[in-house]
Amino acid sequence: MNAYLTSLIGITRRESLRFLSQKGRFFSALVRPLLWLVIFAAGFRAALGLSIEPPYQTYITYEIYIVPGLCGMIQLFNGMQSSFSLVYDREMGSMRLLLTSPLPRWWLLFSKLLAGTVISIIQVYVFLAIAALFDIRFSLAGYVAAFPALLLSGLMLGAFGLLISSRIKQLENFAGVMNFVIFPMFFLSTALYPLWKMAEASPLLRDLCAYSPLTHAVELIRFALYTQFNPDAFVWLVALTALFMAGAVAGYDPERSAILRRAG
């Protein structure tokens, strides 16, 4: 078998085995969006009226609105978790093992990224299955159409995590990332509120939301779940994935990177 494919499969297998052995991680990855769905959304539905806008063709309840956003949230957290584990790997030395492989570094990083994305997609489908138990269901075609959207959004958010991991010097700095990256990104997106609702509060907030990477991920997923394609979100996601990945590869480049020098 081709060495590239072999390494990709090997890295994916390792990430999956690690994920399965960390039961707490799987559990919290599911409980977090379910809390939002079952408690937050139930309380919030009375406070927030939603108008009809694409891809919806009728009035929807708030629970239905936030499901794509929660899928994005799962992938956002998973991307950050992978990034966290990369920084941990670097401190623990496993990163050095990966980087002594004779395969090109960009390929090794891409394999890591794809492996993390596959894991995030599994989490999303398990979440969607549980949501279906609460009567939040989509058509079978919607579930199928969501797959490529989830793949792209997972790659973008994973690449974002990779980029962050290449710039973070110490594990301790990760708490800062949670506060200053993950939460603002989540709240400043269409995951919880539509753009027009944001505009009512503040035009500036609306604009920040409209350009947030997570917004494009959530909108691509939202449209896909209704078997519709959102070209704007797609173009944004492809561009952002390429940009973040290029930044991450540069960050891990032995000729340019300053970050790995600490390890000496």
Partner: protein
Amino acid sequence: MTSQDRTGLEVDRLTHRYGSKTALDGVSFSVEQGTFCALLGPNGAGKSTLFALLTRLFVPREGTIRVAGVSLQENPRAALAMIGVVFQQPTLDLDLSVVQNMKYFAALHGLSGREADKRIGESLSRLGMAERANEKVRSLNGGHRRRMEIARSLVHRPRILLLDEPTVGLDAASRQSITEHVHGLARDDGLTVLWATHLVDEVGDSDQLVVLHQGKIRADATSGEIRNGQPLAQAFARLTNDCEAAA
């Protein structure tokens, strides 16, 4: 066998700086194929920097590294394919089994299926670890974990083996057993070994010994020649103290 085939590792005028601090200063030495070479130096001598450059964790600005005749700078992938590494820090997934750890590493080197299984089996047997193949790494003691890492570093059949203080934190019996195993790899299998340490008792008289101190090579000969009838610890102390006195 041509002369190039006899070449194990060649390091030529290697210099590396962290900002204004010089960690390695014109380091040159070579190790012939099948030789066990101990790289002895006190903490902070520059051993880890040298290892980071040898494993291409970062790229040297000055000087060259050749692995079995292949330049690490010009052809990094071919050179890395011939290097096996055991890092000072453990690099194992504790919750995976020995075999799962080995398979992951084999995949990173493009090995899979029956060929990978065969080589993993051979490497584990070589280090006396075959019966532990399916145990979780977490359940292994420190000595066995280290042996597993050495077995893992052999899976892709490297020409040279780099070990960065591999016995740190192990008890005396494990230390001796691992030192003997690796000497055997050089003697019986023709592997070129570079073994970084700060412990003199891991070096045999017939081993090549390179003494590194404050980023410079202070001695390069067989250990027997360097100690010249004295205990090695004394010779080593003299070499490193002389430098400090001169500095």
